[in-house]
């Protein structure tokens, strides 16, 4: 029993989406895979990357974890604690998701289970890793218990878990991971568009020193009432048209414009700006994907569109680079 859910990249409009402007996101060919295997001993064990199989948890222990996490989340909503306090350990997200889904399905465990997660989505870089892992877990559980797959239902469940990780998730990550392909988002409404057909590469500049929440707050202080969001909106609207008409030349120009705006709001670290300038001089176009960073020299993932991989420039900066393509199908049982 195995379910796969893709990660995502924001192609245009990150940050601007907070101000009611559109954003475009794309599911990518990096994915989280949850495999569910029955075992003889009672309880649920988690086999997570780099940790091996954990001890089994009883359903009662998992319910207790859920209660504590929900209590902490209420404290977060009141402003008493930060979101990082809600889930004690990264694995708690999967434990919460498991018991929340089981309770929602009104299912009981007749035998033990091993829940194995493997993922090719970099963590902490705005690539929707947590949404993808949560969705692959819910999809695997749903299939194991022979529940009819209803996309809206899976979406709601994944958002419940995402809240504990991200505080107030926009739903973009869950939507795109669930449905796959590419979509435009504005004010919580998604509309599907074609996947871009342009050659793309993904460059890892390192995990940002500041979290998405910190970035958003910092930008809000300085640009909350700025007119720059209308400029983002215009770029994103044109981006959508360029994808629809498969206009690679225009996409190049729009990625550069996008980078200029992101740099202007201070989320592109200086080293990353220098890297992007070199990519542009070489003939490609590049921008950060996700929140970026307001401190340090790492900006998370940089998207490069170019006819070939910018291998030489990446080597110079010590960045890993690989081709990236869209995922047309979203969360699925395989």
């Amino acid at each position: 029993m195995k379910a796969v859910a893709p990660g995502k990249l924001i192609l245009s409009g990150e940050h601007a989406v907070v101000y009611g402007k559109p954003a475009i996101a794309m599911a990518i060919d990096r994915s989280a895979v949850f495999e569910l295997t029955p075992k003889e001993e009672q309880g649920v064990a988690f086999d997570l990357p780099g940790t091996g199989v954990s001890e089994s948890h009883t359903v009662m222990a998992l319910r207790d974890l859920k209660r504590r996490a929900e209590k902490k989340y209420r404290e977060f909503l009141k402003g008493d604690v930060g979101i990082g306090y809600v889930l004690g350990a990264p694995a708690d997200l999967f434990r919460f998701t498991f018991i929340h889904t089981m309770d929602g399905l009104h299912r009981t465990l007749d035998s033990g289970l091993v829940m194995k997660l493997r993922s090719s989505i970099p963590v902490g870089c705005g690539m929707g890793s947590s949404a993808a892992t949560v969705l692959s877990e819910i999809r695997a559980i749903g299939h194991y218990f022979r529940v009819d797959f209803k996309p809206d239902w899976y979406y709601e469940y994944s958002l419940e878990a995402e809240k504990l990780q991200h505080g107030r998730p926009s739903g973009v990550d869950s939507y795109i991971s669930l449905h796959g392909g590419c979509a435009r988002f504005q004010n919580g409404v998604a509309s599907s568009i074609a996947l871009p057909r342009t050659q793309m590469f993904m460059v890892q500049t390192g995990v940002p020193a500041t979290s998405t929440g910190e970035c958003v707050m910092d930008v809000e202080k300085q640009f909350g009432n700025s007119g720059i969001w209308s400029e983002f909106e215009a770029v994103t609207n044109e981006f959508e048209q360029a994808i629809r008409s498969n206009n690679t030349q225009k996409l190049h120009w729009l990625v550069r414009e996008n980078n200029r705006l992101l740099s202007a709001i201070g989320v592109v670290p200086e080293k990353v700006q220098r890297f992007i300038a070199e990519v542009e001089a070489w003939g490609g176009s590049a921008k950060i994907c996700g929140a970026g960073s307001v401190a340090g020299e790492c900006g998370g993932v940089v998207l490069v569109i170019a006819d070939e991989m910018p291998r030489g420039i990446c080597e110079k900066y010590g960045y890993a680079v690989s081709p990236v393509r869209g995922d047309p199908l979203g969360t699925r049982i395989v």
């Binding site: 990096r30 568009i193 074609a194 081709p323 393509r325 869209g326």
Partner: protein
């Protein structure tokens, strides 16, 4: 000595598009497809599926039952080339864990090559009665978005074990064939979609049928009324009906609508919901006939017409063997067809454009729903395949 099809197994992709969805996107009446060409759904391969995985998946049930142990000839018929030099069948040979003592080759002549493979396999078994040949037909039918051929896309594969004393169909020695250099359908190396002159192709299909039939009739002395069922090459199901009507007219055999239904309908059921499978098309029809027909066909003679644009046509026949129902995979195929996932129009279009990367880079493909084998990526210009059998 009887020689023929000992086992037959069919496979198609897990994903499909309903032609109602396509009709809506193209702003035409769905009946243009449902009634006009007699097609309802088209199979769309997952991004990690190709003719190798389709073909190996078709043959997997035979592997599982230990039927491939005496195979010393593997003929892989396809027009969906994945390599200019290496035969796709060699990858399949590895996935199916066939013995090294095996002659493997790929055959190409548009939709006809599966029949060429069967005729060659018959010759091999005639000379080596204790040995078996595995014929695999495997194709992905693709046309440009919005083109007239678009609704006739599809994909699928049929694996057939050819042996002496076959348990399913003993193939008659007579055959009629016809070759003519025409340009009704072709795909240059630089294109990923075929070029087709649909109306011309229909005319040539029928002309080649009449000419093939003439030779077959001369050699066998049989008449059209000597057949209990017919299987035609099925680019779309209406083509088979049209072809049979023309043949009956040529032979001055009167056929009612009911007669046509009786002679053809069961062979068209799978094709209507999988779409064109090119080299496997007629054999998908034969599988459909054997597995979905209510009447016991034991001892019945089946007329088989295979056509490949460009063009080669062949008419041959076979007699259904006693106990054939016991060795079919009908239940598995019904389950596979019932459990497919429907795609939205956007998903279909995205998959259509997805393709296999051609920039020479290394890629690891994420996993989609496939059969027991998948196309897992490209490394150093080599296609890499993965068996999911042990999972």
């Amino acid at each position: 000595m009887k020689i023929g099809i000992d086992r037959i197994s069919f496979y198609t992709s897990h994903y499909f598009v309903d032609l109602k969805t396509l009709a809506e996107a193209r702003k035409v009446d769905a009946d243009k497809y449902y009634v006009g060409i007699g097609q309802e759904k088209m199979g769309i391969p997952a991004p990690d599926e190709d003719v190798v995985t389709l073909g190996a998946s078709a043959a997997y049930p035979l592997m599982k039952e230990g039927e491939l142990e005496e195979v010393e000839l593997l003929l892989f018929a396809t027009e969906t080339g994945i390599d200019q030099s290496k035969a796709a069948g060699v990858y399949v040979h590895g996935l199916l864990e066939l013995g090294p003592r095996c002659r493997t080759v790929e055959l190409k002549q548009a939709c006809y090559s599966g029949t060429a493979a069967i005729q060659m396999a018959l010759g091999f078994v005639a000379r080596n009665p204790a040995k078996k040949a595995l014929v695999i037909t495997s194709d992905v039918a693709r046309y440009e978005l919005g083109s007239p051929g678009e609704a006739t896309q599809g994909c699928g594969s049929v694996a057939m074990l050819i042996s002496a004393d076959p348990r399913i169909l003993a193939i008659d020695p007579e055959a009629g064939y016809y070759t003519e250099d025409v340009m009704d359908f072709w795909r240059p190396n630089y294109r990923s979609e075929a070029l087709v002159d649909g109306k011309y192709s229909t005319m040539v299909y029928i002309h080649a049928l009449i000419e093939s039939w003439k030779q077959y009739a001369e050699e066998s002395g049989r008449e059209l009324t000597d057949f209990d069922r017919f299987c035609y090459h099925i680019p779309f199901t209406k083509m088979a009906e049209k072809a049979h009507q023309k043949l009956c007219r040529k032979c001055r055999v009167k056929t009612s609508r009911e007669d046509m239904q009786h002679l053809l309908e069961e062979s068209l059921r799978y094709s209507r919901i999988t779409g064109n499978c090119y080299s496997g098309s007629m054999y998908v029809g034969l599988t459909s006939l054997l597995e979905t027909g209510e009447e016991d066909l034991t001892g019945k003679r089946i007329g088989l017409y295979s056509y490949g644009s460009g063009c080669v046509g062949e008419f041959y026949s076979g007699v259904v063997q006693p106990g054939y129902r016991d060795v079919l995979f009908g239940d598995q195929h019904a389950k596979m067809l019932a459990e497919r996932t429907e795609l939205t129009y956007q998903q279909y279009e995205d998959i259509f454009h997805y393709g296999v990367p051609t920039d020479g880079g290394d890629y690891i493909f994420p996993q989609y729903k496939t059969g027991p084998f998948r196309f897992s990526g490209i490394s150093q210009h080599k296609r890499e395949y993965e068996s999911l059998v042990d999972e």
